[in-house]
């Protein structure tokens, strides 16, 4: 039996969500399901994710997962977003299996963010 439902990573990310907030003028994605809401925003320069921000409504695991995503993908290329799967975050945060559906909301939001970034790149190219 897990005495503490949250591991040290969840506690640290929940206590100090460094990426909490919105990146002004960047690509934005919002997704809502399972009673959870996540918004991601990103500033992209030359195909690289310079800054990521999030807002989330949900349990501590959802908030920590959004923070974990931002920490992992800031500085990486947009193309790498294709590889994002929640399985690694689920492991890192020791998310209980019954919360899988909630964490998958993050995967859906990341997919929307990738699409939003592509739209902006396409629009900028057309301009």
């Amino acid at each position: 039996m897990n005495i503490d439902p949250y591991n040290a990573v969840v506690r640290a990310y929940f206590d100090c969500p460094e990426h909490m907030g919105d990146i002004g003028g960047g690509a934005v994605a919002f997704f809502e399901d399972q009673g959870m809401r996540i918004r991601l925003s990103a500033k992209v320069v030359d195909g690289k994710i310079k800054k990521l921000g999030f807002r989330a409504w949900g349990c501590p695991h959802v908030i920590a997962a959004a923070e974990a995503f931002c920490r992992q993908f800031e500085g990486r290329s947009v193309a790498e977003l294709e590889e994002f799967k929640t399985s690694q975050i689920m492991g890192d945060l020791a998310v209980p299996v019954e919360k899988t559906g909630r964490i998958l909301v993050l995967e859906d939001t990341v997919r929307s963010l990738r699409a939003a970034i592509q739209d902006r790149i396409t629009n900028q190219a057309q301009d």
């Binding site: 929940f14 919002f30 809401r37 918004r39 807002r55 409504w57 019954e98």
Partner: protein, 387 residues
């Protein structure tokens, strides 16, 4: 409270710490009189005397004869014995039973089990403040109704039911009346000589006694079918060797409560008032339960747009509860709050502060500041829905 330097405890409806007099008495009994009270030798008789003293102390708290008390392992067992025992005993007369949607799981699940065994259960809904109007009960009673079970104080909202009126309605129609008194015994005055109650469940650990022991008051002549077999103890109603030290602890907890209830209630009323005053200006704050009155040891509140589980973590090291303590780890919104008309989202944001004898004014100030900070933080985190 021992070990309390790391946290501020405000979950006294879940359980209470041992009173020091209780611990002292239990230690003495463990060292000198912890034998089998059913044995016919001197040691056994010494233990029987300890049990009798505890029954007298509990009898004084409830204003009943010590002979009307059955010892159990706690309120869950008492509820099971009362409801299953009474329903099965009277099944030949009828199979209709009545309870409320806002009962504790230890009652709800027993009625669910009886439904599977062919009984019909009417699940009464309360008013939005949690109260059950007696007319609602009267209009549900039928010729074949055998048992009504209503909790005295709701563990989540602190609502106090009108046991006298509800019991009188049952008595008029020769229907047995069981009351789950887990949150009431030792906390508010309970006079079972005056109340029309046939069966009353309680547990020691809710009023500063030990865990693992409880009692069921059985009014004279109330027929019950036992759930367990295997010994002649307690008139064969609840066999098994009695835990003398735990029973002694329950007795002392009852004796302490008898003398301190009035002071406890006065103190808790002041503390709850200050707690509510300190948070009531938070935008969207809702009190779940009666706006006025109710048990002063419980304050259940919710706010818009904040998740209860996150709220709980953001308030650490303050120890409070979301939903009832028994299912705080569950993802399900509280069925009690849903029955009061709250939405899933509102029920999910609910926090129960439960205060107790050791709660101080400084604890309340810490709780106010902690709750305000946590709500602010989580609201700042939450995204707006796109227009």
């Amino acid at each position: 409270m021992p070990g309390s330097s790391d946290f501020v405890y405000m979950d006294y409806a879940a359980t209470t710490p041992l009173n020091s007099l209780v611990a002292e008495r239990m230690r003495t009994v463990q060292n000198s009189a912890c034998f089998n009270p059913a044995s016919n030798h001197i040691a056994g008789r010494q233990s029987a005397k300890v049990v009798m003293q505890a029954a007298t102390e509990l009898g004084l708290l409830l204003n009943v004869s010590p002979d009307s008390i059955l010892w159990t392992s706690g309120a869950t067992e008492s509820n099971n014995l009362a409801i299953l025992g009474a329903a099965r005993q009277r099944a030949h007369r009828g199979k209709h039973l009545i309870t409320m949607r806002t009962e504790h799981k230890a009652v709800i699940d027993v009625f669910r089990a009886l439904e599977k065994q062919g009984f019909e259960v009417s699940w009464l809904a309360p008013k939005p403040d949690g109260q059950l109007p007696v007319e609602r009960l009267i209009s549900t009673l039928r010729d074949d109704t055998q048992l009504v079970s209503i909790m005295h104080i709701n563990n989540e909202t602190g609502v106090i039911q009108d046991i006298a009126a509800l019991g009188a309605a049952c008595k008029e129609r020769d229907v047995l009346f069981h009351v789950d008194g887990a949150q009431a015994a030792g906390k508010i005055p309970v006079d079972l000589a005056a109340l029309p109650v046939d069966l009353y469940s309680l547990t020691a650990h809710k009023f500063y006694g030990p865990k693992g022991v409880g009692a069921l008051f059985v009014a004279n002549g109330t027929p019950l079918e036992p759930l367990m077999f295997g010994g002649g103890q307690q008139q064969r109603m609840r066999p098994g060797t009695l835990p003398v030290d735990l029973i002694a602890g329950l007795g002392v907890a009852a004796a302490v409560a008898t003398t301190s209830i009035a002071d406890d209630l006065a103190k808790l009323t002041g503390l709850k008032g200050r707690l509510l005053q300190g948070i009531q200006d938070i935008e969207g704050l809702q009190v779940n339960g009666p706006a006025k009155g109710g048990y002063p040891g419980i304050l259940n509140v919710g706010v818009d747009d904040v998740d209860g589980e996150s709220l709980l973590l953001a308030m650490e090291p303050l120890c409070v509860a979301t939903g009832s303590a028994c299912n705080s780890r569950s993802q399900e919104p509280s069925s009690v709050l849903r029955a009061l008309g709250r939405t899933d989202r509102q029920a999910q944001s609910a926090i129960r502060f439960s205060l107790g004898r050791p709660t101080t004014a400084a604890d309340i100030e810490m709780a106010i500041s902690s709750y305000r900070h946590a709500v602010r933080k989580l609201r700042a985190l939450a995204p707006e829905r796109p227009a």
